[in-house]
Every structure is written in C-alpha cells, then in structure tokens.
Symmetry: C2
Subunit: 799 residues, 2 copies
C-alpha cells in the first residue's frame, strides 16, 4: 500500500509543477549574478545535462500535449527570428559606430596634416588613445568577460563547460562598446570574433528572458529551461554573429556546425539557417538605408564584402606552384602566430594581469600609442611613387580624392600626382586596407619593400595586441597579414610568369585564406566564408587547395588558435575523438582510486551537510536495500538539488522511515524552476545554508529527487568506448558498475522500430501479464515514469 | 598460470593478424555476390558496428603506428579525390549522352514535321520507346537494384541497414545506362537522384577495391574494412553525386549532412567538401572542353544551371503574400504527391511487380507511349500565339531558330512569326523547359490555360512514372511542377500588382523550391542548392520563406518522400529522435518476452549448430561462471563469427576445458579478414556448413571471439534514454541487465581530460598497485585489451 501512496504522491508533485509554469520562484533563479559553485576553486563548471532528465525534462514531458508542442515550436522560431534581428542590429550599430569614428578620425587628421604633420600625428594618436582607453576601461571595470574574441569560451559553453559571466548582459554591453573602441582606435584586431560572442549573448539573454539583475526581464520569454534549449539558442546566436560579421549566412551555419558546436541535431540546422538569413536581411536593409547618406561616414566600408568578381577567371597549372607556396607560408606563419600568442598570453596571465586592472589599462594604452606611432611614422619614411597612368574604365583614381576611401593614398608626398603605397595599407582602416590589397587591376601598386615592412610590423603588432584586455577578433588581422604575403607572392608571379591575366589581388585573397587556415584550422566554413565575402564562386577550388595545405602544415606544429587559447584558459574541451592512450585503460582505471561517496535513500540532514562539506563531488549515487538485504543502486542525486532541498527545508521529515506523501502536502512544496540550472547566476553554496540543530536531526527521503537511471558501464570496458558514450550523449556523470551477472534481454534495431499508432496495442499484447498488474493502481499512465518498477520493488521490500 | 598462457595466446593471435594485412583470405570475403543472410527471410540486414570493436578495430589499432596513420590519411584523401573524379566523369558521361540522344531526337522530329506531323510523331514515339525499353531492360534483366532514385536505400545504408545489391558494380552500370535511357526517352523523371546513387556506388566500389565477381579488383585499394570507413566513403559519394547533378559543391555537402547521413563527424566534413569541389572542377573542365563543339548536341543544356541573375532585384512587402501562397500550394501539392506515389508504389509492389520482369517492361513502355502522346499531341491542340515585339537587347529570338534550344518554340503554327507556348514547355527537354519557365524578361509568354494544362498533365505523368522499373529522380519533375504553378501565380501578380520590376521567372523559381520543400522536406541543403543553381544569392530569404511554409504545410499531412518510400520498401530507418511513446516504456519492456539465448564460454559444436538453427538472432551473450559459482556475462558473440568458426573448424578442441593456446598454433589460424563483414557478398548461412558427427562432438572456446564489453542498460531505464544511446552510438546490440548492486566509481569530465603525454605517467602513478601486478606478465602493453581483468579473474577462478 505504501508504494501505491508514494507513487501517487510523486504523480501529484509532478502534476503540481506542471500547473504552475511561471510561478514566483522562477525569478529566484536568475536573481544573483556570480560564479557557479565557487567552492570548486575554479570558475569552470560543467553543464549538467542530467537535470534535463530529472526535473525540467519530466515536467516538460508532463506538460507536453499536442498544443504545448506546437506552442514551443512557434516560440522557438520566434526566438530564432528575434536573435537574428538582434544580432543584425548589433552588428549594424557596431559597424556604423566604428566607421564613423574612424572616418571622422582620418578626415580630421588629413585636414590637419595639410598644415602640420606633428599636430596631425598628435591628434591621430590622441583619438586612438581615447577610443582604446574607453574600450579597455569598459572591459576592465564593467565586463571583464568581454575581453578577447570570446570564441573559445562559447566553444567551451557549447561543449558543456560553463564559464563565469560569458553570457551576461554586462558582457554584451562591454563587448559591443568595447569593440567599437578597440576597432575604431585602430588596434591590430577585428570585430568579427566579438560579434560571434555578441550573438551568443543576445541569444542567451533572450532565452532567459532578459537579465534579472537589471530588472529587465519578462516571464513571457522564460520558456527555455533545459540546457539543451539554451545551448541551441546560443548556437543560433553564434551563426548569427558570423553571418552578421561577414554577411555570409551559409558560412555562419557552417561555422556554427564545424567550429563551435559539439552536439548537432539536424532539426537545429534549419533554425540556425533561418537566423542567419534573418541577419542577412537585416544587414542588407540597413545598408540600403545607409546608401541614402543617413549614416555619416558609413559608406562603402564597414561590412566586409571584398567583392573580387573582377578577379582572374582562370589559371594555368604553373600557377599552382606559387599557390601551394602560399599555403605553406600560411601554415608556417599561422602556426607561429598561435605559438607566439600562446606564450605571450600565458606570460600576461601569469605576470602582468595579476597586478590588477590598472596594469591592463596602461598596457592597452601603450599598445595603442605604439600602433599609432608605427602606422603614422613608418609611411613617413617611405618615398612616394608617381601615380600610374590613369585608366578611366577601372574607376580608380590616383591619388584618391581627399576625404574618400580608396587606393593610392597621398600621404607626405611632394607632388599631387604621387601616392604613398605604405600609407595606402597602413594609414587606413583595416577594411579599406584589405580592399586595397585585394583589388584587381592595380598591378605594381605596392613595392615589395613596403609589403614586407608592413607584414613584419603588422604581424608583430597583431601578436602584441592579442591578449590585451579589449574585445579582439583575429579574422581581420589574419586577413591583413595573409593578403600581404599573398600579394607579395602574386607580385613575383606577375614578374616571372609574364602572363597578362594574373591578378595580384587573387593571390592576396589566397594568402588571406592560407593564414586563417594555418592559424584557426577551420576548413569548410572558412572556405565558404571566403567565397561569400569575395562573391566569387570560381575561386573555390583554389581556396580549398590553399586551405588544405596550410591546415596540414599548421597541424604539424600545434593545435588551432581557439583550442590553444581554450586550453590556456583552462576550459576542458572534450574532443570528438577519444585519445589514443584511452585504448589501454578501463573505465575503472579512469575514475581513479577516489572513494565513491554514496547516500542511502533516507538520509539524515546532518549527514548530507557533512558529506557536501567534505568533498566537491557534484553527483552522488543513492543506494537502497531490499528486504533481503541486497543493495541496489536506485539513482543519482545532484549536489545542486541537495542544496535546494536543504535550503527550502520543506522536505525534512522527523522519522527515518519512508515518507508518506498523503501526510504532508508535498505536492505544492516544489516548483521545478527551483531545480533548474541558473544560467548567469551563482548557485547556492553549502556555506550559504543555515540549518538549526533541530533541522540537522531530521531526515530527507531522496527518492523524488533522483535521476533514477543514469547511464552505466561495466568496470572493465575500454575507456575509448566509455569516452564515446560520454561524449556523444553529452553526459556529466557515468556510473562504473561491476560486470552484470545475467542478461535480461537484448535490444536490437527491431525492438526500437515502434510504429506511432500500433505500438501501444502491440505492447499491451506483448506484456499483458506485467502491465495488467500495474494497471489498476495508476489512474493516469501519462506520468508513469521509469523508476516505477524499481521503486515498487523497493517499497514492497521495506513496507 | 593458465590465465597468463591464455593472455599470451590472445596477444599472439592479434600480433599474427597484424603481420598479414593483405593475405589471401581477404579475397574470400568479396567472392560471392548475393543476399546477406538470406535465412532471415528478408533482404534487409542491419550493419554490424560491433565488428569494429571485435576484430577489425583491434587489428587496426594494433597496426596503427604513426606511419600507418599517416598512410591511412593519405589513402583517405586519395579516395576522396578518386570518388570526385569518378563521379564527375560519370555525370559528364550521363549528361553528354542524354543531351545527344534528346537533341538528336528533337532535331530529327522537327525536320520531319516540316513534311508530316504523323510521321514526326511516329518517329518521336519510337525513339522514346526504344530508349525507355533499353533502360527498363537493363534494369530488370541486369540490375534490379538500379530502379528508382536510390536515395532511400542509400539513406538506409548510412543509417545502418544493409540492402541487397545497392552498391554493386552492376547496379552502377545499370544506373548509368538506365538513366540515359529513361531521361533521354523523355519520361517525367530526372537524373539527379540516380546520380547520387551513382556516386555512392562508385565510392563503395573504390572502397572495396573493385568488384571481385568481375575480377576487377585490386588489393591496393582494400584498406577500408571497417563499416565506419565504408560509410564515410559512401557519404563522400552522395555529396559528390549532388555536386555533380546540380554543380553545387556546398549544396552537396549539406545534402549529405542533412538528408542522408545518420552519423556525422566534423573530420569527415572537410573530406566530403573536398570531394564535392573536385567534382565541380571536373564538370567545369568538361564543360569548357564541350564549349569548343566537341560534344555534339551538348551545348548550353545538360548540367543544371538556370542562371537567373537577371531576375528581379528587390521585392515589395505586398509580394510576400503571393509568395506565401506559393509556399502553401507547394506544401499541399507536395504532400499529395507523396501520398499518391505511396499508394501507387504500394499497389505496384503488391500486384503488378509480383508478376515478373515482363510486366515491368510492358508497363514502362506503356508509360513511355503515353508520355509521347501527351507531350506531342497536346501542343497540337493549342493555338499558336503571335510573337511579341522582339527586343534585341535580351537576346531572345522568337521563334527560336530551328535546331536550337530556347524559348518560343514554333510548333504546328500557321505563321512563321508565331510560337506555341505549350510546346515550349512540353515538347522540349526538361532542362530547357525549366530554363524557359525560369526565364526573365519574357512576361506574357505563357497563357494561364497552357500552364494549367501542363501542370495537371505533367503532375499526373510524374505520379504515374514514379515507381516504374527505371532509374528515376524526383528533382527535375518537382522543379517542373513547381515552376509551372509558380509562374502561374507570378502571372497573376504581374496582372494585379501592376509593377514593372516583377519577373514571372522569379516566381517560377520560388514555386520550384516550394514543391521540392513540400515533397522532400529538405531545408538548408535544398535552399543552398537552389541558390547555387540559380546563381543568385539575393533570393535566399525568399526561398527560405517559401520553404519554411511549404515544409510546415507538408509536415501536417505526411512524412517526406524519401522517408515514405523507405518505409514502403521496409527499410527500418532509426530516426534521430525517439518516439513519443517510448517515454512510458522501459528497456525491459522493449525487448519483449522473448527468451534470451546465451552461450557458455566453452560450448559444444552441436549445441552451437542447434542454437543457430533454432532462431534468427544475430548476437548471443556469453556467460561464464566463477569458481564460487557466480555467473558473469563475459561478452557478446555474433552469429556471423560463429559461422566462420564453424566453417573453418580450426578452433575445435576435444575437451570441454579451456583451451591451452600453447598447444595449438592458434596464432596463425585466423585472419581478421575472415571475420570482416562482406560488403557485397552473401554471408555464410548455417545450412551451408557441413559438419561431420565427429566435429559435432567437439568444443569451442569462445573467449577470443567475443566483443568483451557491449554497452549495457539497466532493465528499468526509460526507453527514450535507451534509444538515444542506441542511435547516437550506432549500436546493433544492447544488453539489458539487472540494476547494479553497487557503484564502483563515477566518471566525470575531469576523468576524461587526459593530457596526451602526461597521462601514461600519471596513470602509472595513480594505480601503481594494480598495474605493477600485471607488468611482468605482459611484454607489450600495447595490445592489452579490455577483457583482461575479467578474463584473468575468470581463469583464475576455473583453474
């Protein structure tokens, strides 16, 4: 009888949760912003996928009528739409601001250097300094998680590692305004990586219905409580970020697929693609609006589209050799870049940044000054070249008219008909410099000396800038570096191959692809992004060739930039393939010699407290005994759930016997939101909970709070197989158990091919004997859950 | 001691296998072509992923030195290259042949109808009949698996279901020549689906080193013996097929990713993309060569590129309504198409095609005749329209010059300055008809009456043709149907919205997208393919809108075309998501009431034979007893492996005791190729094995042939979780075991974060006590496998 009561009790609890979908308690979850489970000693915390199984999932399932499913579907698509619009608008805002700041800076400087170069330089350096200072100030004082590109962190989040503060509102704000400052301030970094992070932040904030810290939240949006849904939203946000940064919707989807996500479902793909396309529409609309002159200095620049549709159409086989050389150079320089940045970042972390945010601010300002000096003074040392004979059909003027963007910058030249080739790439916004480097029909514009100087200086600046406390992407600097040596190679090809249809710009593009491939080691997504930004499908095979080579060369030296950085930051990414060494290990060996701390089903509060205090485990097996004294593992309880139970105290009972659900009104004690994992807030810590001595003497029945069947592996299973199980299913805890004594059944494909409609009947027929027994006891079969047979057995045993 | 001996024995066996990588036995596997395990009563057989774990994988691991890994990598890329080239050339060959046959047919007919329409019709119908007859003859007599599109079968193969004969050389030949006949013969079907199948066949044949039946095989190519590698190759082949059919490399990758594969690894993506790009290069090169007139009638036609870059540039919000209507129509007509074809195919299978191949031939010929009559005679009934005023800038002539492709076909017209709009779409190759329907700047070319007639007739023909015994794709007919009603809607928009920049061709394109979306329910890949074939990125948001709507509408009625057909053909596809009903079931319930048949470790031959005869199970648990009498599950043995052991007889022993490996020379008894799963050959059947009475009295020790640790689930785990495990890891057998009595350890992310270099040392330190004990016994730790601790225990127990 007791088992029956208990069953009903559990049913009622679940039912009650489903009746209060948006109760007051849900706000609690997002209330405090901070480190999740700080007691671990690290700011890194794995995501808990089992929560889904335990509470949110059950509740979701309980509520999941046909109508609710449709509602959820509509909401998901609505969110995809909103993420697309939000990210698109953020991208437009960032680009608009950067272009206006930079445009204003350059036009002011150009107008002043007509009179005095010194005054011009001072003004130029000052504006840069102010912009960079604003950026680093925002980041250090307000949003420390906004520093860097954010892609390693997002990658970690989607791999199941929660890093403090990466998806907060303040991070979003810091990222947007920090990007404007750092990119507008002319540092050797880009705004593309930060845009990916921005998209992810927007997605996450929308998913949790705003930020509760700033009281900007809405209950209407709080439909996504499972980690999976939140992860899906963040994936959409990443794709949206790439789509916005490069105006490459397909590239965005592939980037999300290849580079960031760890678990991919094909249902998600369509939604991600939809988000990307929305971004493309928003950006296109905004640019159309800007064409009418509504956006100040925002003209042809801003969004990266280096259209090289007038590049060379075909290529001879002899050209494949220099292209392969570009690939090799890209691999070498990219790997070197990864290694250098790794050393410098590690040094910074260990020595410089420990000294506080003041050091970070000074550092960024010094880097800004250095960048200003180099980009202004180096072109001064360079002699101007006479303009080439103008070709009215190409539409390229030499020198370019004052106040405009374009090729052939007249800077410190004695004559009006001259241009400074170093200034054309150095004393310019990066977008324009790249456009100039990619430009076709401008053969012999640059001297190899200038390109080499620029390559060395910019490479050093990029390495130096990487790791300063400002939002920083590596795409644009990578493209700058790559296109410089690409163009250099192109110049040699033009010189020695003596063919008319060779364009240096095409080589610059290949160089850019090769450096990105050598540094980031992305493949398909990078290829598609390059094709989409250059709008030239014909170059696809060449880009692929170069990427193949540069990735292979780079892989011989080290890992990709994001992986290296993730490792440096201590983000434990689980790779998709198990390590080679795992083949020689068993599951038992992997869990080490540590004692397993398990809890009995009914446990004393003081025991729970002491166990939680004594270790940092996040999950505990729960063991019960049958009447015959045999022990049985009845499930897994999570530390976070235990903490919630301890804090609320409503589940405490006086007797160590199993609880009688009819006695108390357990049904309304809990709302599943209490147990939902907080996104951007600190969880409860055991030290925060104050229990009276009376409380400590009470008992808790853990049965309703268990994950009744975590995945299990036998102790001597190869770790390779264990790894695959863990990684593929995105688990957090896995029980290692003794080898079973018997096999109750085999499940094959046939057993899982259940037809939608027939299954219930056939099943009833198949196992009538078993099911009939239960039938009368359960009024509703809908909520009947998996632990039923076990718990029945247990409860019968302990009656 | 015995345990030690045994260990060494196993080591030696493995070592021996690794020494003979390409021994003579490997030919055995590919020798006979036929049905895998026919005794099952069905021609469908699940792939055995556990083979990898058991033999091929161990062997591969044993051989995997650094050098071998690099060698494998090079070979994999070489194969990707070869698949790309092969598929590209096959596509070029098919297109060239089709275009030449069709071109010759139409030009001959046109020259004859100048004199007599009846003679022209007879010739036209005769040529069609001959072509279709050749196609259906090849398919029915030589390659029955080549009928249909092949995509459901490939999808099934990649989902883990092996279907008889889909990847044979004869299927490839049948597919190529059958496609030429059926498409050249003017039936309402396309060559795109068959090209996907062709690519898959080429990939599979390359992977197994040719077809042994026809003695065209090379040992050099036989490096891929694991199912995973073969599956990867077939995935590459699918992508190559799409890339070749539509000249859409990115679309090909996405198609393979979204539609066909069930397990995707990001490492594979880059290789798939490489293959697709190679195909694009091959096709482009061939087309460049054909431009010089080397290819007969092969001119602008053939490869699908309906460039609509001169379509409308922008669109007003008011146009979104008719576009949404197109989406709805597409969803409805697509779902109807799926349903009708399902009924007709099912009727054909159950009634018509049972009567033998003669019926199939007659059926196809009748369909061909009907198609000829409709496509020739319907335009005759249609009055001609006067040509519009010619616009020299558009380059479109009216009527088109004789013998050329293009718009405005003059057919049965009284005047030279007239054209027959129905003939323009009906009496034409499908590629040209689609080009005409998509064409811009040809407003008012078609009357709504003609389009409606064509829509109804072609839709009926497409439904009727679907399921005849010829290779048949549904892409091109789908595009034809869709673009017809799309253009119809476009005409109304032009009429009522009265705006100048509206192009009917754009609406035709949207219609095509909507019908394909409504029928096939593909999303991202279809979208990208449409963008790539029309070469117009600006239409992306519109195509997406239409696809969203049509897919949603279609999903309300039935499943996608390929899923419906797969179900009809009895291909048990495991979907990526568990069914809703599974939530209420436990693992125990799913395996039904069937008794589990397990084997003891040392088993009598006669027992094995009787067990194999008495049931159709493909895997058997193996149980052993410790000295204390406790039973333990020591692994899973496969039926196919038992059959190999029975056939070879070398493992038979006289005593029921554990075998002493030093006694016999077990080390050279087996080659792992014996146990490798045959790709395109019949496995052994129990009835094929002849054993003498003496043999039946002998014993086999199964220990070396076990998969020592299959995945296990507790009996009361929710079937949803079981399904996820089964599906995500691509399993074939799963043990349902009793709930464990204790937990030996918990594996968390931390335990799996093993550093490459440090792990061996730290591990050694951690578990010194355990490992030291084993150390002296084993000269090499490399091959130490997972069953070691267990077997040790077992053997000590039974000494």
């Amino acid at each position: 009888m007791l088992s029956n009561h208990f069953q009903n009790g559990v049913e009622t609890v679940r039912h009650a949760w489903s009746r209060i979908p948006n109760s007051e308690e849900s706000q609690f979850v997002d209330d405090a912003v901070g480190l999740v489970r700080k007691s671990d000693g690290s700011s890194v915390e794995s995501l808990d996928y089992e929560v889904i199984e335990n509470f949110a999932y059950r509740e979701e399932q309980a509520r999941r009528g046909k109508l609710y499913v449709s509602y959820l579907l509509v909401v998901k698509w609505l969110f995809a739409l909103l993420i697309g619009i939000g990210t698109g608008l953020a991208a437009v805002f960032i680009n608009l601001s950067v272009e206006n700041f930079a445009g204003w800076k350059f036009s002011l400087t150009f107008s002043i250097i007509q009179k005095s170069y010194i005054a011009g330089f001072l003004l130029y350096a000052l504006i840069n300094l102010v912009l960079v200072f604003s950026s680093v100030y925002i980041v250090t004082q307000f949003a420390p998680a906004a520093a860097g590109s954010g892609i390693p962190e997002i990658k970690g989040y989607l791999n199941g590692v929660d890093i403090h503060g990466i998806l907060l509102l303040r991070t979003l704000i810091g990222k947007i305004f920090g990007s404007i400052g750092s990119v507008g301030g002319g540092l050797a970094l880009g705004k593309e990586g930060p845009l990916v992070h921005t998209g992810a932040c927007i997605a996450s904030l929308l998913g949790q219905g705003g930020s509760t810290k700033y009281h900007i939240n809405s209950r209407w949006f709080q439909v996504f409580r499972s980690d999976r849904d939140r992860r899906d939203l963040v994936t959409c946000g990443c794709a949206a970020g790439v789509a916005a940064a490069f105006r490459a919707p397909v590239g965005g989807v592939l980037f999300a697929l290849e580079e960031v996500t760890s678990w991919w479902r094909s249902q998600l793909m369509w939604r991600v693609f939809f988000t990307s396309a929305i971004v493309a529409v928003v950006v296109r609309t905004a640019m159309g609006w800007c064409k009418n002159g509504n956006c100040g200095h925002f003209g042809s620049g801003g969004f990266i589209i280096w259209d090289i549709s007038d590049g060379q159409e075909d290529y001879s086989f002899a050209e494949l050799l220099p292209m392969a050389i570009i690939g090799v150079i890209g691999g070498l320089l990219g790997a070197l870049f990864n290694q250098l940045t790794l050393y410098i970042s590690s040094w910074r972390r260990n020595h410089l940044h420990k000294k506080g945010s003041r050091v970070k601010i000074i550092e960024a300002c010094l880097v800004s000054l250095l960048t200003s000096i180099i980009s202004f003074c180096l072109p001064l040392l360079r002699e101007c070249s006479p303009c080439p004979e103008s070709d009215p059909t190409s539409g390229i003027e030499c020198p370019r008219p004052p106040g405009m963007y374009g090729n052939y910058v007249n800077f410190f030249c004695s004559s009006d008909k001259e241009y400074n080739d170093l200034a054309t790439i150095f004393f310019n916004t990066q977008d324009d410099a790249i456009r100039n480097l990619f430009s076709a029909k401008t053969i012999h514009e640059y001297s190899s000396q200038s390109l080499l100087t620029f390559l060395v200086m910019f490479y050093s600046l990029a390495v130096l800038t990487f790791g300063t406390a400002v939002p920083a992407g590596q795409f644009v600097p990578g493209i700058m570096i790559g296109s410089t040596y690409g163009r250099l190679v192109g110049m040699f090809v033009v010189k020695y191959y003596k063919k008319l249809n060779i364009e240096e710009g095409t080589y610059a593009l290949l160089g850019a692809a090769s450096f990105l491939g050598g540094s980031m080691r992305m493949t398909v997504s990078l290829c598609v992004i390059m094709v989409e930004i250059t709008n030239n499908l014909k170059l696809l095979p060449l880009i692929m060739l170069v990427l193949l080579i540069s990735k292979a060369v780079g892989d011989a030296f080290n890992e990709g930039l994001y992986e290296e950085q993730a490792r440096l930051r201590g983000i434990p990414l689980l790779e998709s393939r198990p390590k080679y060494e795992m083949r020689n290990m068993t599951a038992k060996e992997a869990c080490g010699s540590g004692r397993v701390i398990s809890l009995p089903r009914v446990v004393k509060v003081s025991d729970v407290v002491s166990i939680l205090r004594s270790n940092k485990h996040n999950g505990f097996p729960v063991i019960d005994h049958t009447r015959s004294g045999e022990s049985l593992v009845i499930g897994l309880v999570l530390r976070s759930h235990l903490l919630v139970i301890l804090q609320s105290k409503v589940d405490f009972q006086h007797s160590p016997l199993l609880s009688d659900p009819r006695g108390g009104d357990r049904s309304i004690r809990h709302d599943s939101h209490e147990f939902a994992k907080p996104v951007s807030s600190k969880g409860i810590c055991i030290d925060d909970i104050h229990l009276s001595p009376d409380d400590l003497e009470m008992y808790i029945d853990l049965a309703p709070f268990l994950n009744p069947s975590p995945y299990i592996v036998p102790e001597d299973m190869s770790l390779t197989k264990v790894y695959n199980l863990f990684r593929q299913l995105g688990l957090r805890h896995l029980f290692v158990v003794p080898r079973p004594s018997r096999v109750l059944g085999l499940i094959t494909r046939k057993d899982l091919m259940i037809e939608d409609t027939e299954n219930v009947n056939t099943l009833e027929l198949q196992s009538t004997s078993v099911r009939n027994r239960h039938h009368n006891k359960r009024p509703t079969t809908r909520n009947s859950d998996v632990e039923r047979p076990l718990l029945n057995g247990l409860l019968v045993g302990s009656e």
